[in-house]
Protein backbone atom coordinates (compact mmCIF):
# COMPACT_ATOMS: atom_id res chain seq x y z
CA UNK A 1 0.00 0.00 0.00
CA UNK A 2 2.48 2.55 1.18
CA UNK A 3 5.70 3.58 -0.49
CA UNK A 4 7.55 3.58 2.79
CA UNK A 5 8.50 0.59 4.87
CA UNK A 6 5.51 -0.45 6.94
CA UNK A 7 5.41 0.92 10.48
CA UNK A 8 2.86 -1.62 11.69
CA UNK A 9 5.31 -4.23 13.03
CA UNK A 10 6.38 -1.75 15.69
CA UNK A 11 4.84 -2.58 19.00
CA UNK A 12 3.04 0.73 19.41
CA UNK A 13 -0.48 1.96 18.76
CA UNK A 14 0.77 5.17 17.18
CA UNK A 15 2.88 3.23 14.68
CA UNK A 16 -0.11 1.03 13.85
CA UNK A 17 -2.41 4.02 13.45
CA UNK A 18 0.14 5.97 11.42
CA UNK A 19 0.66 2.98 9.19
CA UNK A 20 -3.07 2.83 8.53
CA UNK A 21 -3.94 6.52 8.14
CA UNK A 22 -0.66 8.42 8.59
CA UNK A 23 -0.51 8.86 4.87
CA UNK A 24 -1.66 12.44 4.41
CA UNK A 25 -4.09 11.54 1.64
CA UNK A 26 -6.02 9.12 3.84
CA UNK A 27 -6.42 11.79 6.50
CA UNK A 28 -7.82 14.21 3.92
CA UNK A 29 -10.36 11.62 2.73
CA UNK A 30 -11.47 11.02 6.33
CA UNK A 31 -11.72 14.79 6.83
CA UNK A 32 -13.91 15.08 3.72
CA UNK A 33 -16.20 12.30 4.91
CA UNK A 34 -16.48 13.99 8.28
CA UNK A 35 -17.39 17.24 6.49
CA UNK A 36 -20.17 15.44 4.65
CA UNK A 37 -18.64 14.50 1.31
CA UNK A 38 -20.04 11.22 -0.03
CA UNK A 39 -18.87 10.88 -3.63
CA UNK A 40 -15.61 10.04 -5.35
CA UNK A 41 -15.79 13.29 -7.31
CA UNK A 42 -16.08 15.36 -4.14
CA UNK A 43 -12.93 13.82 -2.66
CA UNK A 44 -11.13 14.29 -5.96
CA UNK A 45 -12.17 17.95 -6.12
CA UNK A 46 -11.13 18.83 -2.59
CA UNK A 47 -7.85 16.94 -2.44
CA UNK A 48 -6.62 17.14 -6.00
CA UNK A 49 -5.60 13.49 -5.71
CA UNK A 50 -4.93 11.40 -8.79
CA UNK A 51 -7.96 9.17 -9.38
CA UNK A 52 -6.02 5.92 -9.13
CA UNK A 53 -4.46 6.91 -5.79
CA UNK A 54 -7.85 8.05 -4.49
CA UNK A 55 -9.47 4.76 -5.51
CA UNK A 56 -6.67 2.82 -3.82
CA UNK A 57 -6.95 4.79 -0.59
CA UNK A 58 -10.75 4.40 -0.48
CA UNK A 59 -10.38 0.64 -0.89
CA UNK A 60 -7.71 0.58 1.82
CA UNK A 61 -9.84 2.57 4.30
CA UNK A 62 -12.90 0.40 3.59
CA UNK A 63 -10.89 -2.81 4.10
CA UNK A 64 -9.59 -1.42 7.41
CA UNK A 65 -13.16 -0.75 8.58
CA UNK A 66 -13.03 3.05 8.74
CA UNK A 67 -15.37 3.75 5.85
CA UNK A 68 -18.41 2.15 4.28
CA UNK A 69 -19.10 1.89 0.55
CA UNK A 70 -22.75 1.58 -0.46
CA UNK A 71 -25.11 2.32 -3.29
CA UNK A 72 -24.79 1.71 -7.02
CA UNK A 73 -21.48 0.36 -8.33
CA UNK A 74 -21.14 3.16 -10.85
CA UNK A 75 -21.82 5.85 -8.27
CA UNK A 76 -21.01 4.51 -4.80
CA UNK A 77 -21.70 6.50 -1.64
CA UNK A 78 -19.05 6.58 1.05
CA UNK A 79 -19.50 7.27 4.75
CA UNK A 80 -17.62 6.95 8.02
CA UNK A 81 -18.23 3.88 10.17
CA UNK A 82 -18.24 4.11 13.98
CA UNK A 83 -14.56 3.22 13.83
CA UNK A 84 -14.02 6.11 11.43
CA UNK A 85 -15.98 8.59 13.53
CA UNK A 86 -13.98 7.50 16.54
CA UNK A 87 -10.91 8.97 14.85
CA UNK A 88 -12.49 12.41 14.39
CA UNK A 89 -11.33 13.86 17.74
CA UNK A 90 -7.72 13.08 16.78
CA UNK A 91 -8.22 14.63 13.32
CA UNK A 92 -9.80 17.75 14.80
CA UNK A 93 -6.93 18.02 17.28
CA UNK A 94 -4.53 17.98 14.31
CA UNK A 95 -6.64 20.64 12.58
CA UNK A 96 -6.67 22.83 15.69
CA UNK A 97 -2.89 22.49 15.98
CA UNK A 98 -2.54 23.55 12.34
CA UNK A 99 -4.86 26.48 13.05
CA UNK A 100 -2.66 27.56 15.95
CA UNK A 101 0.76 27.07 14.38
CA UNK A 102 0.47 27.02 10.58
CA UNK A 103 -2.31 29.44 9.69
CA UNK A 104 -1.06 32.95 10.58
CA UNK A 105 -4.08 33.43 12.82
CA UNK A 106 -6.47 32.78 9.95
CA UNK A 107 -7.96 29.28 10.21
CA UNK A 108 -9.38 28.01 6.90
CA UNK A 109 -12.30 26.40 8.73
CA UNK A 110 -14.17 27.31 11.90
CA UNK A 111 -15.28 24.34 14.01
CA UNK A 112 -18.40 24.85 16.09
CA UNK A 113 -20.27 22.83 18.69
CA UNK A 114 -23.93 21.76 18.34
CA UNK A 115 -25.10 25.19 19.55
CA UNK A 116 -22.92 27.05 17.07
CA UNK A 117 -20.32 28.09 19.64
CA UNK A 118 -16.65 27.87 18.69
CA UNK A 119 -15.26 24.43 19.51
CA UNK A 120 -12.78 24.68 22.39
CA UNK A 121 -9.25 23.35 21.98
CA UNK A 122 -9.14 19.61 22.50
CA UNK A 123 -7.15 19.05 25.69
CA UNK A 124 -5.95 16.24 27.89
CA UNK A 125 -7.98 15.55 31.02
CA UNK A 126 -7.08 13.74 34.18
CA UNK A 127 -9.31 11.02 35.60
CA UNK A 128 -10.90 13.78 37.73
CA UNK A 129 -11.71 15.76 34.55
CA UNK A 130 -9.13 18.45 35.27
CA UNK A 131 -7.09 19.82 32.37
CA UNK A 132 -3.76 18.08 32.20
CA UNK A 133 -0.49 19.34 30.75
CA UNK A 134 1.12 16.85 28.31
CA UNK A 135 4.27 16.96 30.48
CA UNK A 136 2.26 15.42 33.33
CA UNK A 137 1.32 12.26 31.45
CA UNK A 138 3.18 9.12 32.50
CA UNK A 139 3.64 6.03 30.43
CA UNK A 140 4.33 2.44 31.31
CA UNK A 141 4.47 -0.80 29.31
CA UNK A 142 1.00 -2.28 28.79
CA UNK A 143 -0.27 -5.84 28.33
CA UNK A 144 0.55 -5.61 24.61
CA UNK A 145 4.18 -4.53 25.09
CA UNK A 146 6.81 -6.93 23.79
CA UNK A 147 10.20 -7.31 25.48
CA UNK A 148 11.81 -4.72 23.23
CA UNK A 149 9.18 -2.06 23.99
CA UNK A 150 9.35 -2.83 27.71
CA UNK A 151 13.14 -2.61 27.78
CA UNK A 152 13.14 0.60 25.76
CA UNK A 153 10.62 2.33 28.04
CA UNK A 154 12.49 1.18 31.16
CA UNK A 155 15.78 2.47 29.70
CA UNK A 156 14.25 5.93 29.27
CA UNK A 157 12.94 6.06 32.82
CA UNK A 158 16.33 5.01 34.17
CA UNK A 159 18.04 8.06 32.61
Amino acid sequence: MSIRKSLAPFNCSLARTADLIGDGWSMLILRDLFLGARHFGEFAASTGMARNILAQRLKHLAAAGLILREGPTNRPLYSLTDQGYDLVPALLALIQWGDRWLSDGKPPMILRDHKGRKLPAITLRSRKDKKLDPRQVRVQPGPGADDRTTAWLKGLNAD
Copy 2:
Protein backbone atom coordinates in the same frame (compact mmCIF):
# COMPACT_ATOMS: atom_id res chain seq x y z
CA MET B 1 11.27 16.31 1.87
CA SER B 2 8.46 13.93 1.26
CA ILE B 3 8.20 11.37 -1.51
CA ARG B 4 4.61 12.28 -2.16
CA LYS B 5 3.29 15.47 -3.68
CA SER B 6 3.11 18.12 -1.00
CA LEU B 7 -0.27 18.55 0.69
CA ALA B 8 0.54 21.99 2.08
CA PRO B 9 -0.90 24.08 -0.77
CA PHE B 10 -4.35 22.85 0.18
CA ASN B 11 -6.24 25.46 2.09
CA CYS B 12 -6.76 23.35 5.20
CA SER B 13 -5.03 23.04 8.55
CA LEU B 14 -5.18 19.25 8.43
CA ALA B 15 -3.41 19.19 5.07
CA ARG B 16 -0.75 21.56 6.40
CA THR B 17 -0.26 19.51 9.57
CA ALA B 18 -0.23 16.21 7.67
CA ASP B 19 2.31 17.63 5.26
CA LEU B 20 4.54 18.55 8.18
CA ILE B 21 4.20 15.51 10.44
CA GLY B 22 1.83 13.14 8.63
CA ASP B 23 4.79 11.08 7.62
CA GLY B 24 4.65 8.17 10.04
CA TRP B 25 8.33 8.43 10.91
CA SER B 26 8.00 12.01 12.12
CA MET B 27 5.14 11.02 14.39
CA LEU B 28 7.25 8.24 15.91
CA ILE B 29 10.12 10.66 16.59
CA LEU B 30 7.72 13.07 18.30
CA ARG B 31 6.30 10.17 20.32
CA ASP B 32 9.82 9.19 21.43
CA LEU B 33 10.62 12.74 22.48
CA PHE B 34 7.38 12.87 24.45
CA LEU B 35 8.36 9.59 26.13
CA GLY B 36 11.66 11.12 27.17
CA ALA B 37 14.12 9.99 24.50
CA ARG B 38 16.83 12.58 23.85
CA HIS B 39 19.46 10.97 21.68
CA PHE B 40 19.76 9.97 18.04
CA GLY B 41 20.55 6.40 19.07
CA GLU B 42 17.39 6.12 21.14
CA PHE B 43 15.19 7.16 18.20
CA ALA B 44 17.08 4.79 15.93
CA ALA B 45 16.59 1.92 18.38
CA SER B 46 12.88 2.42 18.89
CA THR B 47 11.88 3.13 15.31
CA GLY B 48 14.32 1.02 13.34
CA MET B 49 14.68 3.96 10.95
CA ALA B 50 17.63 4.20 8.57
CA ARG B 51 20.09 6.73 10.00
CA ASN B 52 19.97 9.03 6.98
CA ILE B 53 16.17 9.21 7.06
CA LEU B 54 16.20 9.79 10.81
CA ALA B 55 18.74 12.61 10.45
CA GLN B 56 16.64 14.18 7.69
CA ARG B 57 13.43 14.02 9.74
CA LEU B 58 15.11 15.51 12.83
CA LYS B 59 16.39 18.40 10.74
CA HIS B 60 12.94 18.87 9.22
CA LEU B 61 11.19 18.89 12.61
CA ALA B 62 13.76 21.31 14.06
CA ALA B 63 13.37 23.69 11.10
CA ALA B 64 9.59 23.58 11.55
CA GLY B 65 9.96 24.57 15.21
CA LEU B 66 8.67 21.36 16.82
CA ILE B 67 11.94 20.16 18.29
CA LEU B 68 15.08 21.72 19.72
CA ARG B 69 18.61 20.51 19.14
CA GLU B 70 21.17 21.38 21.81
CA GLY B 71 24.41 20.19 23.33
CA PRO B 72 27.62 18.98 21.72
CA THR B 73 27.67 18.58 17.94
CA ASN B 74 28.84 15.00 18.16
CA ARG B 75 26.16 14.06 20.66
CA PRO B 76 23.24 16.49 20.37
CA LEU B 77 20.29 16.39 22.74
CA TYR B 78 16.82 16.74 21.28
CA SER B 79 13.66 17.90 23.04
CA LEU B 80 10.14 19.08 22.24
CA THR B 81 9.48 22.80 22.03
CA ASP B 82 6.18 24.28 23.24
CA GLN B 83 4.94 23.90 19.66
CA GLY B 84 5.91 20.24 19.77
CA TYR B 85 4.27 19.62 23.16
CA ASP B 86 1.14 21.30 21.83
CA LEU B 87 0.81 18.41 19.38
CA VAL B 88 0.89 15.75 22.11
CA PRO B 89 -2.89 15.64 22.73
CA ALA B 90 -3.41 14.82 19.03
CA LEU B 91 -0.70 12.14 19.14
CA LEU B 92 -2.18 10.60 22.29
CA ALA B 93 -5.63 10.62 20.66
CA LEU B 94 -4.13 8.66 17.75
CA ILE B 95 -2.50 6.24 20.23
CA GLN B 96 -5.78 5.76 22.11
CA TRP B 97 -7.57 5.08 18.82
CA GLY B 98 -4.95 2.48 17.95
CA ASP B 99 -5.39 0.96 21.42
CA ARG B 100 -9.14 0.68 20.85
CA TRP B 101 -9.14 -0.59 17.26
CA LEU B 102 -5.78 -2.11 16.41
CA SER B 103 -4.49 -3.76 19.58
CA ASP B 104 -6.80 -6.71 20.31
CA GLY B 105 -7.55 -5.27 23.74
CA LYS B 106 -3.86 -5.28 24.67
CA PRO B 107 -2.42 -1.75 24.48
CA PRO B 108 1.38 -1.72 24.17
CA MET B 109 1.56 1.31 26.46
CA ILE B 110 -0.59 2.47 29.37
CA LEU B 111 -1.03 6.24 29.61
CA ARG B 112 -1.59 7.64 33.11
CA ASP B 113 -2.39 11.05 34.55
CA HIS B 114 -0.18 12.86 37.07
CA LYS B 115 -1.69 10.82 39.93
CA GLY B 116 -1.07 7.52 38.18
CA ARG B 117 -4.70 6.99 37.17
CA LYS B 118 -5.43 5.71 33.68
CA LEU B 119 -5.75 8.58 31.23
CA PRO B 120 -9.36 8.91 30.04
CA ALA B 121 -10.17 8.83 26.35
CA ILE B 122 -9.57 12.22 24.73
CA THR B 123 -12.98 13.52 23.70
CA LEU B 124 -14.58 16.53 22.09
CA ARG B 125 -16.13 19.07 24.42
CA SER B 126 -18.69 21.74 23.76
CA ARG B 127 -18.13 25.31 24.90
CA LYS B 128 -20.04 24.36 28.06
CA ASP B 129 -17.56 21.53 28.72
CA LYS B 130 -20.08 18.81 27.88
CA LYS B 131 -18.91 15.77 25.93
CA LEU B 132 -19.71 16.20 22.27
CA ASP B 133 -20.28 13.55 19.62
CA PRO B 134 -18.19 14.13 16.47
CA ARG B 135 -21.44 14.07 14.47
CA GLN B 136 -22.55 17.22 16.31
CA VAL B 137 -19.62 19.35 15.18
CA ARG B 138 -20.41 21.95 12.52
CA VAL B 139 -17.95 23.52 10.17
CA GLN B 140 -17.95 26.77 8.25
CA PRO B 141 -15.38 28.59 6.14
CA GLY B 142 -13.00 30.63 8.30
CA PRO B 143 -11.01 33.81 7.68
CA GLY B 144 -8.26 31.76 6.02
CA ALA B 145 -10.55 29.99 3.55
CA ASP B 146 -9.90 30.69 -0.10
CA ASP B 147 -12.71 30.77 -2.67
CA ARG B 148 -12.26 27.12 -3.55
CA THR B 149 -12.53 25.95 0.07
CA THR B 150 -15.53 28.19 0.66
CA ALA B 151 -17.32 26.93 -2.45
CA TRP B 152 -16.53 23.32 -1.62
CA LEU B 153 -17.87 23.59 1.94
CA LYS B 154 -21.01 25.39 0.74
CA GLY B 155 -21.56 22.73 -1.90
CA LEU B 156 -21.55 20.03 0.78
CA ASN B 157 -24.03 21.85 2.99
CA ALA B 158 -26.34 22.37 0.04
CA ASP B 159 -26.68 18.60 -0.52
